[in-house]
């Protein structure tokens, strides 16, 4: 098991003052080293307070984001993820775009073995949109995993509680 000096890796967690950015800023994201690289394991991050704006009307949108990933070397630190997700507050984003944008930012940050981002957005005009982004690192095992999860998407339709 590898445990690097996490206090040196992270600047936001445990900081006595936190600055909230109200414009999209992927530089807020921070990582720490995966101490269990010999194992494949799932990490799920639920963000129930995600909000952004409709890029056309400027009306606010709300939703839950579910991030599932299998880490490789780097893992996203959750406070930095919180600050990053808050930074969308004044950003105009279609639901489909923002889920893909977050997925791509997390892939660029962590280079995980597998990652998916699911957006469960509140209804607008009686219609709720639930896009899913997924990524695999190109290894056959994770390609098969992504294919399996892609083909089986929405066999159990989700509802926001």
């Amino acid at each position: 098991m590898i445990i690097s000096n996490r206090e040196e890796e992270l600047s936001q967690l445990g900081s006595s003052s936190t600055t909230y950015s109200y414009s999209y800023d992927p530089k807020l994201l921070e990582t720490f080293e995966n101490a269990h690289q010999e194992n494949d394991y799932w990490v799920t991050l639920n963000a129930d307070e995600f909000t952004s704006l409709c890029p056309i009307t400027n009306q606010p949108d709300f939703g839950t984001l579910i991030i599932n990933y299998i880490p490789h070397i780097k893992m996203v630190e959750s406070k930095s993820l919180k600050l990053y997700l808050f930074s969308f507050i004044n950003n105009g984003e279609f639901h489909e775009d923002v889920v893909n944008k977050i997925g791509k930012d997390l892939v660029a940050l962590m280079k995980p073995k597998y990652l998916e981002v699911i957006g469960l957005f509140y209804p607008r005009g009686n219609i709720s949109i639930h896009p899913t982004f997924s990524y695999n690192n190109g290894e056959n095992y994770y390609q098969e995993l992504e294919k399996h999860r892609f083909f089986n998407r929405n066999l159990n339709p989700q509802r926001i509680g």
Partner: protein, 118 residues
């Protein structure tokens, strides 16, 4: 942001709810919560489009959490004449602590099991 008055029947009991309340804490961190409003009409209510715009305008307003129910109560009370006005705000947890703030008439809000329930 002014609430536009709408003339309606007297003595209707009116409840409005929204799960989409957002305003800023003094720290800068957004607060999220559900808003519940209750009153009995004295012949008027407010236009919901202007009310939605008012709620949306709170996204950039900084408040102590404990003042949010009064702030919304005052906005409504200044705009329309009503009886037994009450406002409840249920905030999502911060640091493991859940807050419910209320001002005015006590009432039991209608709570739906999920946002798809009509």
């Amino acid at each position: 942001m002014k609430l536009t008055k709408v003339t309606i029947q007297k003595n209707s009991t009116i409840e409005y709810s929204s799960k989409e309340l957002l305003f800023l804490a003094k720290s800068g961190q957004p607060y999220r919560g559900s808003l519940h409003i209750y009153f009995i009409s004295k012949g008027e209510t407010f236009d919901l489009l202007t009310f939605k715009k008012y709620i949306t305008s709170l996204r950039s307003v900084t408040l102590n959490a404990e003042d949010i129910a009064y702030t919304i109560y005052k906005k409504i009370d200044d705009a329309i004449d009503s009886k037994k006005l009450g406002v409840i705000v249920d905030l999502t947890s911060r640091g493991g602590i859940q807050q419910r703030i209320s001002f005015g008439k006590k009432f039991k809000p209608v709570v739906k099991s999920n946002i798809f329930q009509v």
